[in-house]
């Protein structure tokens, strides 16, 4: 366990070493969050209403800010590219010699990066934009607590999905396309830009049942009080079930992939 904590700490410090990048990333993230809010302000202004489908403008601004917070700290492409790079360079073979689990190492590494991005990018950018545009508090204390739980679940689920896609590269021999395909699915079905309550049917129903919904949509919907207490627990359970499915998938793929590795040269 201490080895994985050390990996997480190392990933955190490694990223902190490049100060210029910290400032550049904060700036880039700030622009993105401002833009997302601007899109909703323009959309509501176009329709000339303060409430659309029972959702107020202030709720949508809060949704946009939370979307930046929930998704901002996790970088799926980092996990997929790390696996792809290890596969291409042959470093993956070295991990088989070590008395540690490669999937757990990947997760520990991402935890360190998550902590770094949370502290240096997400919290500052959301705080600044919230001061500028205003942000609603959680609908209730219960929703606030459950939002944090859903956020943790979102991070774990997204990390598992990314690792799952990354390990498929053992068969396709390219991680590039997997990164882009996962990005496409998240763009459309996570609710990052447009929440599902604005989706047309039956697309909204389909999107609500896909695992990507637990990455942005459900954490934000819980924060805004869009789900009843029973629905919150039900969807938390379903999210855990999706995480278990991807966890089993990751370890199954890793086991299959391990038997496929052929080392040429050295």
């Amino acid at each position: 366990m201490s080895a994985y904590l050390a990996f997480a700490r190392s990933a955190f410090h490694a990223q902190l070493a490049y100060r210029n990048e910290v400032w550049a990333n904060i700036f880039g993230k700030l622009v993105q969050v401002f833009a997302r809010v601007a899109i909703w302000l323009a959309a509501f202004a176009g329709i000339g209403g303060a409430v659309v489908d029972g959702v107020s403008l202030q709720q949508m601004v809060t949704y946009a800010l939370l979307g930046g917070a929930v998704m901002g700290a996790t970088r799926p492409e980092r996990i997929i590219n790390e696996i792809g790079r290890s596969l291409k360079s042959g470093d993956i073979a070295v991990w088989l010699l070590k008395p540690i689990s490669y999937p757990l190492y990947i997760f520990a590494n991402e935890c360190g990066s998550f902590g770094y991005r949370l502290m240096t990018q997400v919290i500052p950018t959301v705080a600044i934009t919230a001061l500028f545009y205003g942000m609603l508090p959680p609908a209730s204390a219960f929703d606030g607590v459950m939002f944090v739980a859903f956020w943790v679940l979102s991070f774990v689920l997204l990390s598992l999905m990314s690792a799952f896609c990354g390990f498929i590269a053992f068969w396709l021999m390219t991680s590039f396309s997997l990164d882009w395909i996962l990005g496409a699915l998240l763009q459309l079905f996570s609710g990052l830009l447009v929440p599902f309550w604005f989706f047309p049917e039956p697309l909204a129903t389909v999107a609500r049942h896909l695992p990507f919904a637990w990455v942005v949509y459900y954490p934000n919907a819980v924060y805004l009080g869009r789900l009843s207490t029973a629905e919150v627990w039900l969807h938390f359970g379903l999210g855990l079930a999706w995480a278990a499915v991807f966890l089993a998938g990751v370890f199954w793929l890793w086991r299959c992939a391990s038997t496929r590795i052929t080392v040429q040269g050295g």
């Binding site: 601007a38 021999m173 590039f176 447009v194």
Partner: protein
């Protein structure tokens, strides 16, 4: 010297394209993935418009024209610059850039043409049909001058995209690291899928001056559609046409300056 360069350039391009196409299956899978990715961005904007009708006064076919114009101009400009200049940081760090300086060949030309990225085929395959549909769907009375303006605007936007990317990449020759500047570039680039007037005044100003990516998207398309353009007003069309060549001259001067400041970082 020029004839020597012109003879070598097709060889460099052919060599790189053949290496990129070595694994055909993986190459086309990557392109399909990129089409899916940009397609999903476009679908998200479509879902938003299906509920809200307009965004900043722009309707669905107009936003489709904006999206396809931005994607096409970016892909043509980036094919000539992005991956090559992004990798310059690594060349500088490892000292490999020194080997380009001692070749009897322009380092810029070698870098660009030996890395010409045909991977942007996916972007173009999505942007061109979408643009064709949008051109026929928008409420514009197409005339010879408006069609010529549209083509000239795409060329100018392509040049401007390549110029900005070149300047960012060339910064590695001075600072060794430049890739963090690309994250700022792409942060702003994503904004240019949307009309300029929906953003706060500060972002509008940045998108026209310091990071002039609005001039590669909503400014020329807005001028064509007769939309009000913030800050530039009636000058929008003219500025969009001049911006590309002007920024190429600035990028050329900056490239020379960065090379004069280069001291080597690897060994």
């Amino acid at each position: 010297m020029l004839i020597h360069h012109l003879r070598v350039l097709p060889l460099l391009v052919r060599m790189h394209v053949r290496s990129q196409l070595e694994y055909r299956g993986a190459f086309w899978l990557d392109r399909l993935a990129q089409i899916l990715s940009y397609g999903s961005v476009f679908a998200t904007i479509g879902i938003l418009l299906s509920r809200f009708d307009t965004l900043g006064g722009w309707r669905w076919p107009e936003l489709a024209l904006l999206f396809s114009f931005q994607l096409l101009a970016y892909s043509l400009g980036a094919a000539m610059s992005f991956t090559q200049l992004r990798d310059l940081e690594e060349l500088v760090r490892l000292g490999t850039y020194d080997t380009l300086l001692v070749k009897p060949f322009s380092p810029w030309a070698y870098l660009i043409f030996s890395g010409l990225n045909v991977g942007y085929t996916g972007h173009i395959l999505l942007a061109v049909p979408l643009m064709g549909w949008a051109v026929l769907s928008v409420d514009v009375a197409w005339t010879v001058p408006s069609a010529l303006f549209f083509i000239a605007a795409i060329i100018s936007s392509t040049l401007l995209t390549a110029a900005i990317i070149t300047m960012i990449g060339a910064t590695a020759l001075i600072w060794v690291r430049s890739n963090h500047l690309f994250s700022i570039f792409f942060g702003f680039w994503e904004l240019t899928r949307y009309p300029l007037n929906i953003f706060p005044g500060g972002i509008q100003l940045v998108l026209i001056t310091a990071v002039p990516l609005a001039l590669t998207s909503s400014v020329p398309v807005g001028a064509l559609l007769g939309k009000p353009i913030p800050i530039l007003g009636d000058w929008a069309g003219a500025v969009a046409l001049v911006a590309g060549p002007l920024w190429v001259l600035i990028a050329m001067a900056y490239w020379r300056y960065a090379n004069s400041r280069y001291q080597g970082a690897g060994g």
